[in-house]
């Protein structure tokens, strides 16, 4: 069964990808979407049987992959609780995104290619989560990277999309460097890369030391940190996060599937999968906690000032991934995975909702040109509201809460209960929760409330103009339009000097087709109930231990301690959530002039946040430009100026200077070579005979 789940998307990708124009749009879409729904239907029973506690982990071997000396990595599909959780997340979101794309990509000329990429991605992601050894995980890891590259650059005529695609791939490769080194080290230390064998042997290696890059370090710390660098790349953690916001160049369904629900959580998955290994190194866990908390805070601050609706959600994703990491860092792997699970639903929902808004607004992505949309697209509005309630963690303790309420609170409580650096993470997490609430509600208020500000949007103007003018100007072209960088395309992105034009500009947004609304509704159900239904299994001490069956280093002690935290700790998330909501309401509904005053007052801070702490500029100066400059120096000064000059060319000059004899001999170059060759041969032969 597991092999069918994994194989269906691959087959569908091959059929749709190679069939492409031959089979046409509709068959390609039916094959891929059908395959994904089939995989999804097969995945849920597996997950539910783990929830019910009547399933045991197993491994299904496929065939040999790489065998060399003592090294043996086979293709195999592992099914345990971790896999089961990921299976439902991946196949459900992917199936819904496939369906959604029927509507969203309706007018794109390249649909089979798009669906093939989506299915290929799903296959790679499934290979990643079913891996029984680190190398297959790496295969899936790179496979999703490839799919991400292809999908970010799907509209390959757009220079910005191409740049974003390359950036995503290359930045991820920096992480992969760490991952690969981690695999090398793991093999050196354990003599195997089979995950169960490593996890079993890991505790006995605690306290061992290893030589690495000239120093001596704790073995497990080195291995865990190397692997964690890989996780940081894929999960866009601080330092290696720069690719994620740019990845929003891809079509919105892609952002929902890859850059919110599944691929970016691969790093979290890896840390949890290898949790017994990380448990042997307190230092590594400390780093995980620190990086997670730092990312959580950083991304949330940037998210508060972005104007592009997708970028707000992208930074939100980055921030939520930070939560998952510091949960893992404090040892609450169950809570980490739980947040991954709930986040997949509500974040996919938010992205798809944003896609629906963008669809309605004719590919306008700048929230400053939205406003008052709740009456025009009511279903999208309610779905987005459900997502916002879930991400901000609305709920009443002991009664009912939206998905994020259970998972985020579990993380914060576990962080507080773990003590030490976990407490720091707790405070950071609470502050980030305030920001989360603020930017999430800001998004909702700017988009759906207030008066329409559509008139100023170029996209809307185009749309209105086209409707009245030449109607044959295809919609699809707009998909390829250069809304290069939402904030830069319009009005230089400076809120301070910007006066919004109000009015509809004669445009009437339409609610999206049902193929897009059904996924929104299904995901809304997930965002509302996923936490309530499954929180016992994921984070309750006794039920959790039975559910996880040792698939993660589940700490029952910590899960107990979580419930004994002081009351104010439990109430803190709710308090900051309400504060964030209040601030957003005041700033964007009650007193709309506040943001402009704030920008006027704190221009430097605002610019700093708007420009994402200047990471891109910094990396450009530190890495990109020097790489090209040094490359040019090596080429012009090294190869041409030094090696050739004193090597072959210098020698040639010497020969020319050397005299006429040589020149006379060199009647034709080619014959000379043959002659020298013959002379050598003759010498060898003579000598061989002579002795």
């Amino acid at each position: 069964m597991i092999s069918l789940i994994v194989l269906f998307p691959l087959l569908a990708a091959i059929i749709a990808g190679l069939g492409n124009r031959i089979i046409g749009n509709v068959p390609a879409k039916i094959v891929t979407t059908g395959a994904l729904f089939a995989s999804c239907a097969l995945s849920w029973p597996i997950f539910l049987s783990f929830v019910a506690g009547d399933a045991a982990p197993y491994v299904e071997p496929v065939f040999t992959w790489i065998r060399s000396g003592d090294f043996d990595a086979a293709w195999a599909l592992r099914v345990d609780t971790m896999t089961a959780v990921m299976l439902v997340v991946i196949t459900s979101v992917s199936a819904l995104v496939h369906l959604y794309s029927w509507g969203y990509m309706e007018e794109d000329p390249d649909q089979p290619r798009f669906f093939a990429y989506l299915s290929l991605f799903t296959f790679a992601m499934l290979m990643l989560v079913t891996a029984n050894n680190l190398l297959q995980m790496f295969f899936g890891w790179e496979g999703v990277g490839l799919a991400s590259y292809l999908l970010i650059g799907f509209w390959f005529r757009k220079p910005s999309a191409n740049a974003a695609a390359i950036k995503a791939f290359v930045v991820n490769r920096v992480g992969d460097l760490g991952f690969m080194m981690g695999i090398f080290g793991t093999f050196l230390v354990f003599g195997t890369i089979s995950i169960p064998e490593i996890l079993e042997a890991a505790p006995s290696m605690a306290g061992s030391t290893i030589g690495f890059l000239g120093g001596r370090f704790d073995t497990m710390t080195v291995l865990c940190l190397l692997l964690f660098i890989g996780a940081m790349g894929k999960s866009a953690q601080l330092g290696l996060h720069t690719w994620l916001p740019d990845a929003m160049e891809g079509p919105t369904p892609v952002s929902a599937l890859i850059h919110a629900a599944t691929m970016v959580t691969a790093g979290v998955f890896m840390v949890c999968r290898l949790s017994p290994m990380f448990e042997t190194s307190p230092t590594a866990l400390g780093v995980v906690t620190f990086v997670g908390a730092a990312t959580c805070l950083f991304a949330a601050t940037v998210g508060t000032v972005q104007n592009d609706i997708k970028r707000v959600i992208a930074y939100s994703t980055c921030s939520q991934l930070g939560y998952m990491f510091f949960a893992a860092g404090v040892g609450a792997y169950g809570a980490s995975m739980f947040h991954l699970f709930t986040h997949a639903f509500f974040k996919a929902l938010l992205f798809l909702g944003a896609g629906s808004v963008i669809h309605a607004m004719h590919h306008e992505q700048d929230m400053r040109y939205y406003g008052g949309l709740r009456n025009e697209i009511p279903i999208t509005f309610w779905a987005m509201t459900a997502g916002t309630l879930a991400i901000t963690g609305v709920g009443i303790i002991g009664v009912f809460g939206f998905a994020g309420f259970y998972s985020k609170d579990a993380i914060l409580e576990a962080a507080y209960a773990s003590g030490g650096s976990g407490q720091l993470a707790f405070y950071v997490g609470v502050f980030a929760a305030l920001l989360t609430s603020f930017y999430s509600w800001r998004l909702v208020f700017l988009t759906f409330f207030g008066t329409p500000r559509w008139a100023a949007s170029e996209h809307i103007q185009h749309a209105v103009h086209d409707a009245h003018g030449h109607g044959d100007h295809g919609h699809a072209d707009h998909g390829h339009d250069d809304h290069v960088d939402g904030s830069k395309a319009h009005g230089e992105g400076d809120y301070a000097h910007y006066t919004p034009l109000t009015g509809t500009g004669g445009y009437h947004p339409h609610e999206s087709p049902w193929s897009m609304l059904i996924p929104l509704i299904v995901l809304s159900i997930g965002a509302i109930f996923a936490g309530f239904v499954f929180h016992h299994s994921f984070v309750e001490a006794e039920q959790g231990a039975a559910f996880w069956q040792g698939a993660i280093a589940f700490d029952t002690h910590l899960m107990h301690a979580m419930h004994e935290v002081p009351l104010w700790v439990k109430l803190a998330p709710a308090a900051v959530m309400l504060s964030g909501l209040a601030i957003a309401w005041l700033a964007y509904i009650r007193y709309p002039e506040w943001p402009r005053q704030f920008v006027g007052q704190f221009g430097v801070l605002y610019q700093f946040l708007l420009n994402k702490w200047y990471f891109d500029e910094l990396y450009n100066v530190l890495f990109v430009k020097p790489a090209f400059a040094i490359g040019r120096i090596f080429w012009k000064a090294g190869d041409v100026g030094l090696i050739d000059r004193f090597g072959p060319n210098g020698l040639a000059a010497l020969v020319v200077q050397g005299g006429k004899i040589t020149r006379r001999l060199q009647s034709g170059y080619l014959y000379t070579y043959a002659l020298v060759m013959l002379l050598g041969l003759a010498a060898a032969a003579t000598w061989a005979i002579a002795r």
Partner: protein, 522 residues
């Protein structure tokens, strides 16, 4: 005489030899057909060879051996092990593709051209099968003559400079190697390569001999800083010439290291391993950065070849099975992938007659089939898992990690830089909008071109997904080689100590680390 009952190795050389002579006297059209037929026959023979090769641990190390004394100690001694087998299979696989690639592109002196190619096939099979050290030398050096001719006669505008550079570099190395060989034969009293592989030269002598061989192999690889002939040779060579140069000729250096330097001079190899590592580390970073700034497609791929070959050299001198098998896999994978990339360049060069990257762009729009295949080969060159190059790069780097973490980390940066320059190339050629009118008018792949690229694509995926077919024949031979050089293996820098969980837990408790109950969960 062997499991087949006929001298298959000699036959594999005789067929293209006879065809080469026939080509010289045939009309253009016939010459093409003769060349194609002969290379296909050799491909079939190569497959027979692969299938009948006994890969079990029980199998003899040297199979299909032939021996016929010529004069003195000089003998027609042939035989192959698994390592040579795989390189022969690579050669005979690429040859028909090269003929196909030259089908229309070469229209002057076709007979001579085809003869040169067939002669090259003879000599390359000779290099990989020779069991007599002088026979090897003859094949090794003579193999370059057809290449000089191909670059010098059918090459681009700067062909004379390129072939001259090619010659100058190779000459120096080969003279030293010949002298070393003569001395070795005198010492050991035999020209038989298998015997020499088991002969123990004194460590002092080894150092000199190693350096003499290194001078030749390093140029052939090519290693930094003697790599500058390669970009020029590639740029000037016709497409098929580049394919065979990157696909097979560059592998002769690596083969030389495996066949001579390592088994014959284990102590010297260990002694000079740091030199090899150092040059390779420089090569990976240096040539990758140079590749990044190239505006000529062929130069870019040529520089990337140097970076890939550096992974081969570090793998070989890792002194373990993963390193050596990985190096072999990189050679095979790179042979396919860089060959395919040069073919991809050839496809668009034939249409527009320029290698300037900036003249292209947006080809994914009007050449979708081409874009798909080019993407596959680009990804393979980047070392994406599931393609041939990943298997080799991964194993080689894993092997070298055991020897030195520094070397491993510096060489692994190649995966970042490789992604940068290859994707940047692909982006400029295939993505973006069609801006140049002449590029817009280019038709997609013809049936012939598809038939050249599709088999390589299949092989690239096969090697990436089920590399066992390629690793299994080499396993016993690599194991024998590792056993042979094991006595000289330098200690790695890891020096792992045993774990002490109790002490570690106590230390963690004392310092009041993050987690109050480490490890309690299990």
């Amino acid at each position: 005489m062997n499991q087949l009952g006929f001298p298959i190795l000699t036959l594999m050389m005789a067929v293209p030899m006879a065809a080469a002579i026939a080509c010289l006297y045939a009309s253009d059209k016939t010459a093409r057909m003769i060349a194609l037929a002969a290379t296909l026959v050799d491909l079939a023979l190569g497959i027979v060879l692969w299938l009948t090769f006994d890969q079990s641990a029980m199998g003899a190390q040297w199979q299909f051996t032939e021996y016929a004394p010529i004069f003195g100690r000089f003998a027609w001694a042939l035989g192959i092990d698994g390592i040579a087998l795989m390189l022969i299979v690579l050669t005979v696989f690429l040859m028909p593709i090269c003929i196909g690639a030259s089908w229309l592109a070469i229209d002057k002196r076709v007979g001579e051209y085809m003869a040169a190619f067939l002669l090259m096939e003879v000599l390359m099979i000779g290099v990989f099968t020779a069991q007599d050290i002088f026979l090897f030398y003859v094949m090794f050096e003579a193999g370059l003559i057809p290449m000089y001719l191909i670059i010098g006669i059918w090459g681009g505008a700067e062909r004379i400079y390129a072939s001259y550079k090619f010659f100058l570099y190779t000459l120096l190395g080969s003279v030293l190697m010949l002298i070393a060989m003569m001395w070795m034969v005198q010492q050991a009293g035999t020209t038989d390569i298998p015997t020499l592989m088991a002969f123990d030269f004194s460590p002092q002598a080894q150092s000199w001999l190693w350096l003499a061989f290194f001078a030749s192999f390093a140029v052939k690889m090519p290693m930094w800083p003697v790599h500058t002939w390669l970009p020029d040779a590639h740029v000037q060579a016709p497409t098929a010439g580049s394919v065979i140069l990157a696909g097979v000729l560059l592998k002769m250096g690596g083969y030389g290291f495996i066949r001579f330097s390592l088994p014959m001079f284990p102590e010297a190899s260990a002694q000079f391993a740091p030199l090899v590592f150092g040059l390779s580390m420089v090569a990976v970073v240096y040539t990758s950065l140079v590749a990044l700034v190239q505006s000529d497609m062929k130069k870019l791929i040529a520089y990337s070849s140097v970076a890939h070959m550096a992974i081969v050299t570090v793998g070989l001198f890792a002194f373990n099975a993963q390193g050596i098998e990985g190096a072999m896999m990189v050679m095979l994978g790179h042979g396919l992938v860089s060959g395919a990339l040069f073919l991809c360049v050839g496809v668009i060069y034939d249409r527009l007659h320029t290698r300037e990257i900036s003249r292209y762009g947006g080809l994914a729009i009007n050449m979708p089939k081409y874009a798909v295949l080019f993407l596959l080969f680009t990804m393979a060159a980047v070392g994406l898992p599931g393609t041939s190059n990943f298997v080799g790069e991964f194993l080689a780097l894993m092997g070298v990690y055991e020897a030195s973490s520094w070397v491993a980390i510096v060489c692994t940066t190649g995966i970042i830089l490789g992604a940068a320059y290859m994707l940047y190339l692909y982006r400029r050629v295939c993505y973006g909008d069609l801006v140049n009118d002449d590029a817009r008018a280019m038709p997609d792949l013809s049936g012939r071109e598809l038939w050249l690229l599709a088999p390589i694509a299949a092989a690239v995926l096969w090697m990436g997904i089920y590399p066992e077919s390629f690793l299994a024949p080499m396993r016993a031979d690599v194991a024998a080689l590792v056993a042979r050089i094991d006595r000289a293996r330098p200690a790695g820098d890891a020096a792992l100590t045993a774990g002490n969980p109790a002490a570690a837990a106590a230390a963690a408790g004392e310092h009041g680390q993050t987690h109050d109950t480490p490890g309690e969960a299990h």
